[in-house]
């Protein structure tokens, strides 16, 4: 399966009377976007705000971040099974609006976390501070339940991203990149000497505000399966995950998965990138056993030499991660895991809730308990009302001078377990 990605760089976003992309500036018809979002009767009001890199702006609580994309050639549409028909995606041509994102914000539940600072020390910890962000602050109608509100805000983001992506359909991309994976037999013939490597992506799937969807299917209901990496680039995986801001994967993370990107970089050079195994992270131990057994079985079936396993979230997924690692290693396949740590504020505590000697190659996204001071920002998009309730926050978090003291947990993408980070200890 082959996909050509065309990149169109967006240097600025402006609210205007007409939506278009001109000279690398995205003009957004505010009224049209509002009308689109307010078609959903669960949303009472929406405001559009723009946050640019370097602005003294804090966005919180962030729900999702989405990169606008559009299918230009090939089957299906972006976000298949969710916003488009359930046709198979991942081949043909897709354009993406780079250097920008649609950010959804809204208080789904009282403790929902997620801070994006566009400048200052907090900005270093979130990759989204480097993007031009169109922020949708969605207010629900009275009496709505949390699951309905979550779904409404999730869809508002996708609708807006599709609307903006469509503006790029007739443009010339600034650059194009080809991504191609081969069938098992083609791959073996083409790269007989190269190690066969797959990416095992664990998806959060525990329940309300902890859900992920593949082609529209709630991932807690799947058994592990195989997907082409280019399908992910066309939005086959979307996030409904609102909790644990630092290490949840937003839809933007899925679309731009750095493990997929880096494996493609080495594909045909140092390794044969065979494909992606998707698995879940469920609450019940029987599900964990079934899924980890099945994942190891698929890795063996693919005849792998190596596997990279990424985690999402905190706590019980540590058990899924170690089960996957142990069982894949037991098949004789070299395994690397990507996780993050909750090692206490001093970094001296046990990092994960599970461990095994088979997990001897680990990449970490950092210590989510590290405390950081975030200075006052001139502008807040969303609300600071819940800062004392978010993970790593407490009643002293919001100070009279506007400074916030929180753990990195509260910052969107700070310790991302796909490795989508800007800081490293290299």
């Amino acid at each position: 399966m082959k996909l050509t990605m065309g990149h169109i760089h967006i240097q600025d976003i402006k609210l205007a009377d007409c939506s278009e992309i001109r000279d690398h500036v995205l003009y957004v018809d505010e009224a049209a976007v509002k009308e689109l979002i307010l078609q959903d009767e669960k949303i009472r009001a929406v405001t559009l705000e723009i946050a640019r890199p370097g602005d003294s702006t804090r966005i919180t609580p962030v729900k999702d971040v989405i990169e606008p994309r559009v299918k230009v050639a090939g089957g299906g549409g972006i976000f298949p099974g969710v916003m488009n028909d359930v046709d198979t995606v991942g081949s043909g041509t897709t354009y993406a609006l780079k250097d920008m994102a649609v950010v959804t914000a809204g208080k789904i539940v009282g403790f929902q976390e997620g801070i994006i600072d566009m400048s200052g020390p907090g900005a270093d910890y979130t990759p989204f501070s480097k993007l031009n962000n169109l922020v949708l602050v969605c207010e629900p109608v009275a009496g709505i339940k949390a699951p309905e509100y979550e779904q409404a805000v999730r869809f508002a983001g996708f609708k807006t991203a599709l609307y903006l992506g469509e503006l790029a359909k007739t443009l010339e991309p600034d650059e194009t990149v080809d991504y191609e994976t081969y069938s098992l037999t083609e791959g073996i013939k083409k790269f007989p000497e190269l190690p066969r490597v797959a990416y095992v992506q664990m998806l959060q799937s525990q329940g309300l505000l902890h859900d992920t969807y593949v082609y529209g299917v709630d991932v807690k209901k799947i058994v592990p399966t195989i997907i082409h990496p280019t399908e992910i680039m066309d939005g086959a995986i979307v996030s409904g995950n609102c909790v644990s801001a630092c290490d949840k994967n937003t839809t933007y993370h899925h679309l731009n998965n750095p493990v997929v990107h880096d494996l493609f970089e080495q594909h045909g050079k140092t390794l044969n990138f065979v494909g992606v195994v998707l698995t879940n992270e469920n609450v019940y131990l029987a599900d964990k056993q079934r899924s980890s057994d099945w994942t190891a079985k698929l890795c063996e079936y693919l005849g792998l030499d190596g596997a990279i396993v990424s985690q999402e979230g905190f706590g019980n997924p540590d058990t899924d991660l170690i089960m996957n690692c142990k069982k894949i290693e037991a098949k004789g396949i070299k395994t690397v895991i990507i996780t993050d740590e909750y090692a206490g504020r001093d970094g001296k505590s046990q990092s994960l809730a599970d461990a095994d000697v088979a997990a001897d190659a680990v990449v970490t996204g950092g210590n989510a308990n590290m405390v950081i001071q975030l200075p006052k920002m001139d502008k807040v998009i969303g609300t600071l009302d819940y800062t004392t309730q978010i993970a790593g926050g407490n009643e002293h978090s919001l100070r009279p001078d506007g400074t916030i003291e929180v753990e990195l947990q509260a910052i969107t993408g700070a310790t991302n377990e796909l490795g989508f980070n800007r800081l490293s200890a290299r």
């Binding site: 539940v109 009282g110 403790f111 949390a146 699951p147 959060q204 525990q206 329940g207 309300l208 505000l209 902890h210 807690k220 995950n241 909790v243 644990s244 290490d247 949840k248 469920n282 609450v283 019940y284 131990l285 029987a286 599900d287 964990k288 979230g313 905190f314 706590g315 019980n316 540590d318 058990t319 909750y342 206490g344 504020r345 505590s349 046990q350 809730a353 599970d354 308990n369 819940y386 004392t388 309730q389 978010i390 993970a391 790593g392 407490n394 009643e395 002293h396 947990q409």
Partner: protein, 133 residues
């Protein structure tokens, strides 16, 4: 197989006691998250098996005050070592978060008094029941 849910979440107790009496035995305990986990450990030592992961959810211990854990209602003659390992690691993790919360003592009881209390209850409820639907 009948299952038992140990919970300190009044929402779980209130919503499922009668409806699901055939399937679940719900034991409500007025205690902390750690109190629930210690009670789960007691049952595991008596031969019960852990069915749900005690660190369910990405909401951190002591950020949320609620926890519901499912175990087998009947006991075997021997202790399930995998269950024991998981509950011990979960208790250790829970204590780590308690120690951090104690640096700001009010934080421990803050969540129950907050406007988010109903949301914490709802999330714990969906984590234990969503997968069973």
């Amino acid at each position: 197989m009948k299952r038992m849910i140990l919970t300190n979440n009044p929402y779980v107790e209130g919503h499922y006691q009668e409806k699901t009496a055939q399937e679940f035995e719900i034991r409500y305990l007025d205690t902390s998250i750690e109190g629930i986990m210690l009670k789960v450990r007691d049952y595991i030592h008596k031969g019960h098996t852990l069915l749900s992961h005690p660190l369910s959810g990405s909401v951190k211990p002591y950020e949320t005050p609620y926890k519901s854990v499912m175990i087998s209602a009947s006991a075997e003659a021997s202790v399930d070592l995998e269950s024991l390992e998981i509950i011990e690691a979960s208790i250790a993790c829970c204590r780590k978060f308690r120690l951090m919360a104690r640096q700001n003592p009010a934080a421990v009881n803050q969540a129950r008094a907050s406007a988010a209390d109903a949301d914490f209850q709802l999330i714990d409820f969906t984590l234990i029941f969503d997968s069973l639907r």
